[in-house]
């Protein structure tokens, strides 16, 4: 073993020196080691220590000598010396990396770039990429964006829901909305980068002065207002129809004209308004009729205007309910000013948040089980659901979810009412 160690120590010497003396040194060491075997332990230890320490110091000396011997060859001047006794100096570094080093460096750089790109591209199922950078792969999919950055505290801890490409956000104390426009064919990596750029662009606008929704969309001032109310009206055909003058207020006249306005939404002319006709989006994948019915019920129950119009809560606005729409809408006029403003129309943000997350509840038991969390949407909400599961039984009840969202809203100063 000592001989092997000695041989390995010989590699400390410069290669020319090693090729000249390596075998001899090895042979002499072997003979010397045989000599000390017959002596005492102390003598053997002294021999080993002397041999290896002197070997190291000799290697250092030889390396220094080797480099000194090379320098005159690199110096400009006759026979490695100087011109006219003027000392020669290096004016530039003669060193240049080997071709193999450049090649390996290039390959390594490409590999790292590929790995980073793959992580961005395919890492959206994981929490880090998903919550911080990732967006949905389709424009109409609900997004829940979280970030721990202080500048986005309100942004990250609020619910972002989308419908027809509209991303609804609750930012700080001011509910706001923004439209996410994903260009066709750029749903994957392109969307990711657009989200990053979007975040970077929005970030400086969120400060002491509050949040301006126009900063989100980058729209020009002369374009129509895009705030929470306006977007909500746009994605809700019932409200869009009722608000004939487009001022996002259902005036007394518009309330009075509600029956005839609502009948215009009856596309299949059956006299009733189904959830789809009221604005419920179609499912991305085939679902059974029971789930469809339950989703319709949830949809009609969630939106205050629809819940009021669907008086018997049978998941559709029947002809008689359309006829009684004026009286029903007047019930929403809590302050009695004869018109419906945003405070009386918009759903509670807390209920909004809970509603969108509870879509994971496939069996309708108002609990989100581990199996129901296993899908793509469940992975997106994983951090929220883990935090909400206070008793750590793997099942998140609607109450636990509500408490967690309310807690986060309180942390960020987002005003929320009690869920109805």
């Amino acid at each position: 073993m000592l001989l092997r160690l000695y041989r390995s120590f010989l590699h400390l010497f410069p290669a020319p020196y090693r090729s000249t003396f390596g075998q001899e040194m090895n042979a002499v060491f072997r003979q010397r080691e045989a000599d000390v075997r017959t002596k005492g332990v102390f003598a053997r230890y002294a021999f080993f220590i002397r041999e290896f320490t002197s070997l190291i110091s000799a290697a250092i000396r030889e390396r220094a000598r080797h480099s000194e011997a090379r320098e005159p060859q690199l110096a400009a001047g006759p026979a490695g010396g100087t011109y006219d006794d003027v000392p020669g100096f290096y004016t530039c570094e003669p060193y240049f990396p080997r071709r193999s080093a450049l090649l390996h460096g290039g390959i390594l750089s490409l590999a790292m770039f590929g790995a980073a790109s793959a992580a961005f591209e395919y890492g959206t199922g994981h929490h880090l990429f998903q919550t911080l950078l990732g967006g949905s792969r389709t424009a109409n999919q609900t997004q829940f964006i979280e970030t721990s950055e202080s500048g986005f505290a309100a942004f990250g801890r609020s619910v972002a829901a989308s419908a027809d490409g509209v991303l609804m956000l609750i930012l700080g104390k001011q509910p706001a909305t923004a439209t996410v426009e994903v260009k066709p064919g750029r749903e994957k990596l392109g969307e990711l980068w657009s989200n990053v750029l979007w975040l970077l662009r929005v970030r400086p606008q969120i400060g002491a002065g509050g949040f301006n929704p126009q900063d989100l969309t980058g729209t020009e001032p002369e374009e129509p207002r895009r705030d929470y109310t306006s977007v909500y009206f746009q994605v809700m055909p019932v409200l869009r129809t009722l608000d004939a003058d487009g001022d996002y207020i259902i005036s007394a006249a518009e309330i009075a004209n509600a029956p005839s306005a609502l009948r215009c939404l009856d596309r299949n002319h059956d006299g009733n308004l189904s959830p789809e006709e009221c604005g419920q989006g179609s499912a991305e994948s085939p679902v059974d009729s029971q789930s469809l019915k339950r989703a319709g019920l949830e949809f009609m129950r969630f939106h205050p205007v629809l819940a009021t119009l669907d008086a018997d809560h049978d998941c559709e606005i029947s002809a008689s309910e359309i006829q009684n729409a004026t009286a029903a809408l007047k019930k929403l006029d809590k302050n009695g000013d004869g018109k419906l403003t945003q405070n009386e129309i918009l759903p509670d943000p807390l209920a909004n948040a809970v509603f969108f997350v509870m879509r994971l509840d496939a069996n309708g038991d108002r609990r989100i089980s581990t199996d129901e969390r296993s899908g793509e949407l469940g992975r997106r909400y994983r951090e929220l659901l883990d935090a909400a599961d206070q008793n750590k039984d793997g099942v998140v009840t609607e109450e636990e979810l509500t408490d967690e969202i309310r807690r986060r809203a309180a942390l960020t100063g987002t005003p929320m009412q009690e869920q109805k």
């Binding site: 001899e24 002499v28 003979q31 041999e51 002197s54 000799a58 030889e62």
Partner: protein, 111 residues
């Protein structure tokens, strides 16, 4: 033959190595043993020290390597070159002079 103008006093190990080779050509292990014997065990060279010195002496052409008959690659022999022998004689003369001088200066006081 003139001695090397860049000649400087030799260290004891190098001097002993040269003295060892002055008697006859030797290989590495033999040099070690001879140096140890000459110094009565006071100077024990390690392989690193020995071959470091041999390398410098080879570069300065004070010694040369040659192949002994039936010798393997790990038993190269070394011998003094005329230049090396001359420098060794110069060094020995210098030391003699120093010894004589020391005898003149130290002995009367001791006496």
């Amino acid at each position: 033959m003139k001695s090397d103008p860049t000649f400087s006093p030799l260290s004891e190990p190098v001097l002993l190595i040269l003295l060892s080779l002055a008697e006859q050509p030797r290989h590495g292990y033999s040099i070690l043993k001879d140096v140890e014997a000459m110094s009565v065990g006071r100077v024990v060279l390690s392989t690193g020290t020995l071959y470091g010195a041999l390398g410098r002496l080879l570069d300065d052409r004070w010694i040369e390597r040659f192949e002994e008959d039936e010798a393997s690659r790990d038993r190269q022999a070394y011998r003094l070159t005329p230049k090396g022998r001359q420098n060794l004689l110069t060094e020995v003369a210098r030391m003699k002079q120093l010894t004589r001088l020391a005898g003149l200066r130290v002995s009367p006081k001791e006496a």
